[in-house]
Symmetry: none
Subunit: 146 residues, 2 copies
DNA sequence: TTGTTAGTGGTGAAAAGTGGTGAAATATGT
DNA sequence: ACATATTTCACCACTTTTCACCACTAACAA
């Protein structure tokens, strides 16, 4: 399971390294695509195909009604890590996530999210101020399940 | 059952030792994550998985409410103790809990909380001065905010 | 005291992160 | 189509960080 968060540098040309802790689980062939809240998603090839094929499991392509599937599919790039575990974030994706010098790689279960460092810190503050709401929402989710 | 509290030093680089009394119950593989009121939580791997189930996170799917995933999974780090029972507290977590030279490890049933010593002492004083209020609010089933 | 366990500092080899480079691939202009 | 310019990317080399140990000191019980 992908958990925790790690900081890595992004070069002017968008080159960055996947944190070592995530490499074994993501493997060398990875899909990178646009995520929600101005993030990027990194998903292993296996997990990607699983998501696309498993119709009943609320695949990642069905998001919100208004959001076209091509948001994710149309912005997905296959990448292969070099021997140092690095790759280049496509320019359009870098712009979408407003990634500058420092990026934060966040493990969120089955995927890794990439955040611009400044935005991640802001988001952390927001989360910290709303812990109770978040926890409550989890509690109510649970009641809905059998 | 994890109970009592113990003081341990934290090095400049964030290295500290789990109090010996807690080691057997936590075992060597531990999860450290953000807790409430600027504390950190230490829980055994087993307990972690149990908690994930009860809280009903769905890490295998890109779920709709993304905040809980990011808060809980994104701030959880797996750690392994060395032969002296020590580990390094990730920088971002140290900052969250404002941990400086001295840390207090507090056993709270199924988890251990880590406090900055100064903050722990303040909190103890607050508790001492407000025991009656707290007990009363518990009796009337209300929440008390510090 | 003496033996045993817990806590703490230090260290060096290994791992991870980062910058640079040149051949190969791709794009561009004529 | 060909020549030239530009970009890409696989690899090398260097720097920084991490972490598994060793060794000493403090606390404590017999």
């Amino acid at each position: 399971m992908l958990i925790g968060n790690y900081n890595n540098r992004v070069s002017l040309k968008g080159r960055t390294a996947v944190p070592a802790k995530f490499r074994s689980e993501l493997s060398k062939k990875i899909i990178i695509t646009k995520g929600y809240e101005k993030t990027l998603f990194l998903i292993s090839e296996d997990e990607w195909e699983k998501q696309l094929n498993t119709v009943n499991l609320q695949p990642l392509v069905i998001s919100q009604p208004r959001e076209p599937d091509r948001f994710i599919l149309g912005n997905a790039f296959p990448i292969i890590l070099d021997d140092q575990g690095r790759f280049v974030i496509p320019k359009s994706l870098r712009q979408h996530a407003q990634i500058k010098e420092q990026a934060v790689f966040v493990g969120v279960g089955n995927r890794v999210e990439i955040w611009d460092q400044a935005r991640w810190q802001e988001y952390q503050q927001y989360l910290g101020e709303n812990v109770e709401k978040i926890v409550n929402s989890l509690a109510s989710n649970q009641e809905l399940k059998p």
